[in-house]
């Protein structure tokens, strides 16, 4: 099983390998900069564990777990 973004521990970084799917969610994830090679770090999560906050370039993105699960990362 390839690693996905929702499994990234807090404070750790990884590079995006691919985004699964061709629907609106996949398009939005890619538009927001989650493209191959982008460096992402997990910053934290909401009190109920979902959504999750990530740092990407200068921005802080929040993704639901099901969305982060679409993003394949290296390592």
């Amino acid at each position: 099983m390839a690693r996905t973004l929702d499994g990234l521990p807090i404070g750790e970084e990884a590079r995006v390998v691919d985004v699964h799917g061709e629907d609106a969610i996949a398009i939005r994830l890619m538009e927001m900069g989650l493209v191959e090679g982008a460096l992402v770090r997990r910053m934290g999560q909401a009190p109920m564990g979902d959504p999750i906050e990530y740092a990407l370039h200068g921005s802080r993105l929040i993704l639901r777990v099901v969305e982060a699960n679409r993003v394949e990362i290296d390592g």
Partner: protein
């Protein structure tokens, strides 16, 4: 090239029209404000819910009109609403002016992501100007940008601004003038030749099928946006063959190594990476910004939630009682400062009209129709002002995104997203500002469902109805000493009934009316900043004026129509006679006390007779069999219909119809006594416990509020939704009330 003097205006000025586009949270509103000041008009584009915001300013050469497009991350349009922005940029809308150029505003600290939209705008083939905003924040973020090098690499003008501090605005105005003289930049041409070929092929195919010639940009979008708005648009024009054609075209592209939709983001972000190489330097050690440190507290699992609850409670409380708190120093703690002023203005104007005009239809129209109706509009102003004051602050400082972040998990259980939380919470005070607040919801489906269930939340206008029914007809019982009271339990149940019903309603609406996949939630947590007071006050002003102006006029019309239905076709001569008699005797009230009391009583009886003889009274008699299963007689039916402009009106109508006069309140002992004494023709009591409960349930679920319906019309830009809301809520209310009455009589007897 300077423009030719316009013939129509006769002035030799060069007028320009530009569009302002950018990602959300880039300070676009601040920039728009800094350019145009308060000189903005807000409206809707026809047929869609997109807000049309136009502003203008004058410089030495003429007038510059600025179209502020909604903040977006991309021009890839998934709905008709999003396609509007593309159509404006391509000057394809019939009633929108032709654009001279586009100003793209980006958050400098976040330039990598922001340039994605810029690269799409570049491909439109119209003059573009790039604004690097929030320049003052770069240092704190540990970023340096060589904007001179960037400008020479891009070959288009760049202006550096800090819009919230009003820095760089003059330079931007100058650049807008100068850039007119420079030619449009060539498109970026990032796409490989197989893709370009496929676009041309699509354009040719569309023309062969009888469609119109499409701009190259739209052909690109149609291929790239799988199931997007341009595809939908095209299938309407050409027919159902579009779907299979595009599927084939996309699989041809995939074979050629251009996988749709990934190819676009891959190429554009590749271009951005190359462009910014050597231009942007990020310091590696400053990983945690001030904003991150604030978030450690504000999104903390315990502290964050506590802060959130306190904040929400404060905002909610302020919509509820804010006006009254402000009114306290002026001795207006009951009506509120604004509410009190409206009341005074209403009674002042009313007496003025009564002193000028003789009693008759015209006087009654002005006093009971127009002045009362206008009062019914302005009562919402304090709530709208207070809610949007807080919302604008929360939005501008960046906390609003944290609300969505903290509440998302909970709201997904209702099939909505975290963004729906605040609009729904506000609706517990009043649905009018709550529905207006749904503009923070980016997704159309979520926004529509939120708008449609918001009126179910129990608002403050329902409280008087509940209080009257509970205190007049339900026995008070206490348990555990005085800790638990039956009245309090019933009131609480009524308060939460709507919210509970809203859960299945939201699910059904999502499933049947707005089917489709779950929309993307993916959003940004913008860095915290101090709110700009200009932006805050402008937003409050915009909301108030759009409510009073557009929705307000229709609320007024509704009030007048209901007034007319109550007034005509009865003969008012006797009532007028009694009134003038009262006036005459009232000059010496001490002498004629007894006489006056008698006259007042006969006036009230006459008014009750008049309403019975009116159109509304006849309506009530016609619907009597319909409301019979709810335990109501025709008088309750009439009172409910008359309360269409606003729920609380039922109390005044009940007062009138039971010959007490319209000036009664829910605490009025006389009203309670009269209602308790009311009977059916056979002498059995009318208001029993099941009837009281059925009226309360009806009011908990019904849509008897013209203001809410008009605001739904205003926000959805369609008559379909207010009508739908009215129908579904009235149906729910009717069957809910029937269920309660029927089961109630079963257990308690009539």
């Amino acid at each position: 090239m300077p423009s030719i003097p316009s013939d129509e205006s006769g002035s030799s000025v060069a007028n320009l029209t530009i569009a302002l586009v950018g990602n959300p949270n880039t300070g676009k509103s601040s920039l728009f404000n800094a350019l145009c000041g308060m000189n903005a008009r807000v409206g809707n584009f026809p047929g869609v819910t997109v807000e049309k915001k136009l502003g203008s300013y004058r410089d030495g050469l003429g007038e510059v009109t600025v179209i502020d497009l909604p903040g977006t991350y991309s021009l890839s349009a998934r709905s008709a609403d999003e396609l509007v922005s593309v159509d404006i940029l391509l000057s394809r809308l019939p009633d929108a002016p032709k654009l001279d150029g586009v100003v793209v505003i980006v958050d400098a600290a976040n330039i990598e992501r922001n340039l994605y939209l810029f690269s799409q705008v570049r491909d439109l083939g119209i003059p573009v100007l790039l604004v690097l905003n929030m320049w003052d924040r770069l240092q704190e973020e540990g970023v340096t940008i060589d904007h001179v090098q960037l400008q020479s690499k891009l070959g288009i003008p760049i202006v550096v601004t800090s819009a919230n501090k009003r820095k760089g605005i003059e330079a931007l105005r100058q650049a807008i003038r100068d850039w007119k003289r420079s030619p449009s930049p060539a498109p970026l041409s990032l796409f490989p030749s197989p893709f370009i070929d496929e676009c041309e092929k699509l354009s040719r195919w569309v023309v062969e099928q009888g469609g119109s010639q499409m701009p190259p940009f739209l052909a690109e979008r149609t291929l790239l946006d799988v199931g997007g708005a341009s595809e939908t648009f095209l299938s309407k024009q050409v027919g159902a063959e579009v779907g299979p054609y595009l599927t084939e075209a996309r699989s041809r592209l995939k074979e050629a190594g251009c996988r749709v939709p990934a190819i676009e983001t891959k190429l554009r972000y590749g271009w951005i990476r190359e462009l910014l190489d050597g231009v942007v330097v990020r310091s590696q050690q400053t990983k945690l910004t001030t904003s991150d440190r604030i978030d450690r507290l504000f999104t903390h699992r315990a502290w964050g939630v506590a802060i959130f609850l306190v904040l929400m409670f404060f905002i909610f409380q302020s919509i509820f009682v804010g006006d009254k708190v402000i009114g306290r120093p002026f001795g207006l703690s009951d009506e509120g400062l604004f509410g009190g002023l409206i009341g005074m203005a209403q009674s002042g104007l009313g007496s003025l009209v009564e002193s000028i005009l003789p009693p008759g239809p015209l006087q009654s129209l002005l006093v009971d129709g127009v002045i009362a109706g206008a009062g019914g509009i302005f009562v919402f102003v304090p709530q709208i002002a207070l809610l949007f004051f807080f919302i604008a602050i929360l939005e501008d400082c960046g906390y609003m995104a944290r609300v969505a972040f903290l509440m998302d998990k909970l709201m997904t259980k209702l099939g909505l997203s975290g963004r729906s939380f605040l609009p729904l919470l506000s609706s517990f005070a009043c649905a009018v500002p709550g529905i207006m607040a749904t503009r923070v919801i980016e997704n159309r489906r979520d926004r529509m469902v939120t708008i449609l269930v918001a009126p179910l939340m129990s608002c403050s206008a329902r409280v008087p109805v509940y209080v009257l029914m509970v205190s007049a007809f339900l026995p008070e019982k206490y348990w555990l000493g005085h800790w638990i009271s039956l009245h309090a339990i019933i009131l609480f149940a009524m308060q939460i009934l709507g919210a509970i019903v809203a859960i299945p309603v939201a699910w059904i609406l999502k499933r049947w009316l707005f089917p489709g996949q779950t929309p993307p939630f993916v959003m940004e947590l913008p860095a915290y900043k101090w709110p700009s007071w200009r932006v805050v006050f402008q937003r409050v002003w915009e909301r108030i004026s759009s409510f009073v102006g557009r929705a307000g006029s229709l609320i007024l019309v509704t009030s007048i129509l209901v007034w007319a239905a109550c007034y005509f076709p009865s003969d008012h001569t006797r009532a007028i006679e009694i009134k003038s008699q009262i006036e005459r005797l009232a000059e010496e009230p001490s002498k004629n006390e007894e006489e006056l009391a008698k006259l007042h009583q006969s006036l009230h009886e006459e008014n009750s007779r008049l309403i019975e003889a009116s159109f509304l009274g006849s309506c009530g008699k016609i619907i009597a069999p319909v409301v019979r299963p709810l335990g109501w007689d025709w008088r309750i039916g009439v009172s409910v219909i008359a309360s269409f402009p606003a729920r609380e009106v039922i109390i005044a109508t009940l007062g009138t119809i039971y010959s007490l006069g319209g000036d009664v309140s829910e605490e009025d002992a006389g009203l309670k006594g009269t209602l308790q004494a009311a009977t059916w023709p056979d002498g059995s009591p009318l208001f029993t416990i099941p009837v009281a409960l059925s009226i309360m349930v009806f009011f908990a679920l019904c849509a008897q509020c013209a203001a809410t319906l008009m605001v739904i019309w205003r926000e959805t830009n369609s008559w379909r939704w207010p009508i739908f809301t009215f129908v579904y809520m009235t149906t729910l209310a009717y069957f809910g009330a029937m269920l309660v009455y029927q089961t109630g009589t079963l257990f308690l007897g009539r």
